[in-house]
């Protein structure tokens, strides 16, 4: 089997401007939704109480809402979780009342209304923890960004580092934009997924940069645009296959992982799709506009490269 029967290098860079405009528009839209709608943060970040209650029959959400509101708890969200029998109840931090006892009061009220109500899990997070988690999340993001930039700058060149980070931060913003637009719940596992995507999609750009460097050494006569086109064309099959395989795994999580892993898998799916796009079309184009050239990458390394691995060293079979 071979999916990719490409005869000539595809002139990706000729359309770089179009690709980047598309990117820019998506990026700005994501930013817009992020600021206008904001993220629907989970209890872990906002503080509050979360209860998952299971019933033997499909649950009557309105009755539950009424019962909880009757306890004097405000801004309660009640929704189904996974199945019609399972209900998720979210309560914000209540001022003045002892929040750790809140869940017990609610459960006993629900039990009184319907004896089949059983508590599957509860989560209570104090407001101080939530703030810390948000701060830690930002710190982790900063660490990843600087770490990756440093590594790429050492291994390749600063222009690549900048290009890769811009391309991949744009992935992250777009994932967040999706979560803001659909008001999907942004929880700690989703944060983990977002950061994992950052590492994963940079690795995509790295593969292409690696090829660009190799091509600079190999094909003396090509100009930068041709080199990049060739690099993308020759890695496109592995890009698609790798992402396809990872997506198979994520799909399996989406199908079998249940409600808990749902948004985690969703964040990864968006990340993988946009990861391909950004690393192929955006990162390389930005690197091109930043003016990468042969001298940036090939300096000093020439002597070392005259080893049996160099295809230009002559036929050696």
């Amino acid at each position: 089997m071979e999916f990719f029967k490409i005869r000539r290098d595809i002139p990706f860079m000729r359309h770089a401007l179009v690709f980047n405009l598309i990117s820019l528009v998506t990026f700005l839209a994501a930013l817009f939704f992020l600021f206008s709608r904001g993220l629907h943060l989970s209890v872990e970040f906002t503080g509050g109480t979360l209860m998952e209650v299971s019933y033997s029959q499909p649950a009557d959400l309105n009755a539950i809402r009424g019962a909880v509101a009757a306890l004097g708890i405000n801004d309660v969200q009640v929704q189904n979780f996974g199945t019609a029998q399972d209900v998720l109840i979210r309560m914000p931090v209540q001022k003045g009342s002892n929040s750790s006892q809140q869940s017990e009061r609610v459960l006993s009220t629900l039990k009184a209304a319907d004896a089949s109500a059983t508590l599957r899990r509860t989560e209570f997070v104090g407001p101080q923890v939530g703030d810390e988690l948000a701060a830690d999340g930002l710190k982790a993001l900063a660490f990843v960004v600087t770490g990756i930039m440093l590594y790429l700058a050492i291994r390749f060149e600063w222009k690549f580092a900048v290009a890769a980070i811009i391309a991949n931060m744009h992935d992250v913003i777009i994932i967040l934009g999706f979560f803001a637009f659909f008001q999907w719940e942004f929880s700690l596992p989703v944060l983990a997924a977002v950061l994992a995507v950052l590492g994963y999609s940079v690795n995509e750009s790295v593969v292409i940069f690696d090829r660009i460097r190799e091509n600079f050494r190999r094909y003396r006569k090509m100009n930068t645009t041709q080199i990049i086109d060739n690099a993308i064309t020759s890695t496109i099959s592995r890009t698609i296959i790798t992402h396809g395989s990872t997506q198979l795994m994520v799909l399996s999580m989406l199908l079998f992982g249940g409600a808990t892993l749902h948004y985690f898998a969703l964040a990864l799916t968006i990340g993988i799709l946009f990861g391909i796009y950004s690393s192929v079309f955006v990162a390389a184009a930005i690197a091109m506009w930043l003016g990468i050239q042969r001298e940036d990458l090939v300096k000093g390394g020439m002597k070392k490269d005259e080893d049996p691995n160099d295809p230009n060293a002559g036929a050696m079979v």
Partner: protein
């Protein structure tokens, strides 16, 4: 060209055997078990307890798969949870005839079902997190400002009596937050006061200032001393929690310090959060009273008469009754510290108590009048009192430093000190995070994680085999090897596996295949460019290596960031993610190369390799190799 030296194969073989051995316990899984341990420090778990457990099971007609004694606990394993619950009740009844005063902790637990020889190798299944096995998780914040304020309060009292002893005339001592303010009329007294504080209170720093016609001195606790106070408060709270949780009957409670002022408590298997919270939040109180030594009381002590009016009957820790007067002399509030130690003269084990100024004054007065009499120190928890110790007063005790000694082992001294501290000192705590996971949800989560990994793995393997033929098969085998190594490493490290951890396992497998795709595509490309099969394999692996390193390092950077800054579920994800990346480097490159070398390396005149279609744009004829 494509041959591995023997030592490389040896490494692969060793990794395979060790990985297999340590991953094996996960296949056997865990069985429901009942765990028995002692609830009181005075008791030890001896062979008789083991026989009692066995007899209790026999009497109840429950067949245990195994009953073993392992260090400080006895574990009995059962086939199902029904037998486990019945057995728990039976053992509970047999070992703790008095339910109100249990001598043994009987708890439900999970025990590895793997054979003894595996256990002897220290191989155990992966440690499941709370979201997979069910249980409760609490995070408690210790109120450090309150602890420091309390310390300042007691220091203020000490300063007051210190000044009185040295005849320093002050215009008032008051506590203001965590500092102590002292007023003076003239400058000489300030100097004198400063000397007293420097001599007697090394933990304080003072700042003087003029306040109108008066002088003011502000004493604050030195940062080093403040840190000590906080450390003490935290340790103290942790030990107190340990004692209380013993009562809950939890097999493997986790009570850990987190950061400077937090404590994490995890109770696997506990479902009754209300009770758990009640126990965690309970405060113990300490009272010092006099022992009633009248004739009437003596007969009541032996059980031959009624307890006299104005007195109460309490039990000592060893079960002996003590008749104690109702009048309270001191409470735990006046006790600032209790430490185990030794008597200066006799070198006997002793407990050293430190009282605050008010406590010291009362104590001196009481002891002066009651030499030769006994006093009792009582600890009240849940409204139930217990006599911790009832020593005889030998002499008048002033200065607030009390020593209890005689007829005590060092272990008992440490125990008593801990109990005394439990009733005092501890800074208030607040639950700032709580998580409860029902047991059925835990089992469901395991199934979900397991299914995600399995089906994802199957799908990827089928695709790889179809697309890359034999090379795809080798890639799938190395992917399986990666999973084996990852499970083995997680089992060895006993890192906590959570649902996000299982998601990371699936994700890391999806990412690990990247290395093999890179290699296989490279080999195809080399073949397309006309390289001989052997050269293509060689060049494919070599060229792909640099790319694989780069891409794995960037992924690892993200993983490490999650590990460093993440907490809870994120950490569980990050641990598996990072380990998975490391094992994938070994399996995806080193191991798969080994298999390829074994298969093709020997063939000198290799004509074709089975890597699926190698399509050539320049000629119409495709080279299909199988």
């Amino acid at each position: 060209m494509n041959r591995y030296p023997v030592w490389k194969y040896a490494i692969i073989l060793i990794a395979l055997v060790v990985g297999g051995l340590y991953a094996l316990p996960n296949v056997f899984g865990e069985a429901p078990a009942v765990q028995v341990s002692v609830a009181k420090a005075a008791l030890t778990l001896d062979a008789s307890a083991l026989t009692r457990v066995e007899e209790a099971l026999k009497a109840a007609g429950i067949a245990a798969d195994a009953v073993v004694q392992d260090g400080a606990s006895i574990k009995a394993r059962f086939a199902d949870t029904d037998a486990q619950l019945k057995a728990k009740d039976a053992i509970q009844k047999a070992l703790n005839p008095d339910a109100a005063d249990p001598s043994y902790v009987v708890a439900l637990n999970l025990l590895s079902r793997s054979p003894a020889w595996l256990t002897a190798l220290n191989a155990s299944p992966m440690y499941l997190g709370l979201d997979l096995r069910g249980g409760v998780h609490f995070m408690l914040q210790v109120d450090m400002p309150a602890a420091l304020a309390k310390k300042a309060e007691s220091l203020a009292g000490d300063i007051r009596s210190g000044f009185r002893e040295k005849n320093v005339r002050h215009g008032g001592i008051s506590r203001n937050g965590q500092t102590i303010e002292i007023r003076f009329r003239d400058a000489q007294t300030v100097e004198a006061a400063k000397r007293v504080i420097q001599d007697q209170f090394p933990d304080l720093v003072t700042v003087e200032s003029a306040d109108g016609a008066d002088f003011k001195m502000v004493a604050s606790i030195k940062p080093v001393a403040a840190r000590n106070v906080q450390d003490q408060a935290l340790k103290q709270n942790i030990t107190t929690l340990h004692n209380r949780i013993n009562e809950l009957g939890v097999a493997e409670p986790v009570i850990q310090q987190q950061g400077l002022d937090r404590i994490v408590v995890q109770l696997p298997g506990v479902q009754d959060t209300a009770k758990a919270k009640d126990i965690l939040g309970r405060t113990a109180t300490l009272e010092i009273r006099m022992v009633d030594e009248g004739a009437e009381a003596r007969s009541a002590e032996t059980g031959n008469g009624p307890v006299p009016f104005g007195s109460e009957r309490f039990l000592e820790r060893n079960g002996q009754a003590v008749i104690v007067k109702k009048q309270v002399i001191l409470t735990g509030e006046n006790l600032t510290d209790a430490q185990p130690g030794f008597d200066n003269q006799t070198q006997e084990a002793a407990v050293h108590l430190t009282l605050d100024a008010k406590g010291a004054r009362i104590f001196r007065d009481v002891t002066r009048e009651s030499i030769g009499k006994r006093m009792a120190i009582l600890l009240f928890e849940k409204g139930k009192g217990e006599v911790v110790t009832a020593p005889v007063i030998r002499s008048e005790i002033g200065g607030g430093r009390v020593q209890i000694s005689g007829r005590m082992t060092t272990v008992e001294a440490a125990d008593t000190a801990l109990l005394l501290r439990a009733g005092s000192l501890a800074a208030p705590m607040e639950i700032i995070e709580e998580r409860t996971i029902g047991p059925s949800l835990g089992a469901e989560n395991i199934a979900k994680g397991f299914n995600s990994v399995t089906w994802g793995f199957v799908a990827v393997s089928i695709f790889m085999c179809a697309y890359y033929m034999l090379f795809g098969m080798i890639s799938s085998v190395s992917l399986a090897f990666n999973l084996l190594l990852l499970v083995a490493v997680l089992s060895m490290l006993q890192a906590t596996l959570t649902l996000p951890g299982m998601a990371a396992m699936a994700l890391v497998l999806g990412m690990a295949i990247d290395a093999n795709v890179l290699i296989n595509e490279r080999v195809r490309e080399e073949l397309r460019n006309g390289a001989s099969p052997q050269a293509a394999i060689h060049a494919g692996y070599d060229r792909a290596w640099a790319t694989i390193i780069d891409s794995n390092v960037t992924t690892l950077i993200a993983g490490l960031a999650l590990l460093a800054f993440g907490s809870g579920p994120v950490r569980g994800f990050a641990v598996v993610h990072c380990l998975g990346i490391l094992t994938s480097m070994f399996s995806g490159v080193f191991f798969s190369r080994g298999v390829v070398n074994l298969w093709y390396g020997r063939q000198k005149k290799l004509k074709s390799v089975s890597i699926g279609t190698v399509w050539r744009p320049d000629s119409a004829n495709q080279v299909t190799t199988n």
